[in-house]
Symmetry: C2
Subunit: 192 residues, 2 copies
Amino acid sequence: MVEFMMPFTIDVNLQNGIIPNAPIVQTRHLSDLQGLFADSAAESALLAENPILYEVYEATENPVVEGHLRYSTTVIYPGKVGDEYFFTKGHYHAIGDRAELYLGLLGEGYLLLQTPAGEVHALRMLPGTAAYVPPYWGHRTINVGTENFVFFACYPADAGYDYASIAEKGFAQIMVERAGKPELVANPKWRT
Amino acid sequence: MVEFMMPFTIDVNLQNGIIPNAPIVQTRHLSDLQGLFADSAAESALLAENPILYEVYEATENPVVEGHLRYSTTVIYPGKVGDEYFFTKGHYHAIGDRAELYLGLLGEGYLLLQTPAGEVHALRMLPGTAAYVPPYWGHRTINVGTENFVFFACYPADAGYDYASIAEKGFAQIMVERAGKPELVANPKWRT
């Protein structure tokens, strides 16, 4: 017997990315990402201020069941730790073969993707950029602009999160400011 | 051995919904939906002109494989057949437990949902409305405004399409103009 879940809507403010009635809002301060930035001295210094790096507005608590979708908006604030741009923690999916889709809404950023072996790709995202995270790629987003970088995300509800691999090893490459522009460079903290 | 598909982006024009480099563009004329509107005389008369009702820009040809996602934009033009607003064909998913997500970008419309038994829900969509099609619900979108109604859609790549059920039976209720406003009324052509 099929159970019919009630259809529903939730409003996304396309002007700032906020979902006013989001059932879950995650606010990530620098302290939540401690140890992930390459410049440890700059990170320590900024921890006194402990700025908010980003917020995630989860649009739903749809069942963690194959076939369902979840979706959210993410607002990454502009800023740097040393010369490294603010980013999200980044994760792999617990169920590795689950993809994810991003749609840029505001600002300018990068989607950084990595295989477990350390192959890295960086995709530039502007408003209207639909960026695809294929199965098995770890992914992190980065604000390289001077305004908030905002995107919408949709993913299979059962994808799950593996944050530990990124927390332990980081990304093989990082996005830093060089001569006023974002540039991908080797991560001195990367451990294979 | 895991195969890593190359990450990629495609640009969506958020001002008009068009995906300029879409690998597939579907253009649906009235003749493609013949027999689906309630007012057969009005439909026949309008067939001489055979207007375009809507266009779908498929953003990807991602593999039809569990875990992958596909995504598209749909542009429904404003107009009516008799007093019934232009709509998309509508379908169930071939794999019934696959959900779908819509994000309104421009204009004003409705997402019409139906169970196979004929229970109908209509969700109003404006720019920023994230509307969820839970598993097993048939779904159709309708432009009730005077401008193009444009939305972004994301769905599991293996969801598939079942158009036949809607083509044979239609929706139990239809969206018509009454005193200048959209109203949901019983479909005289509905067959249980």
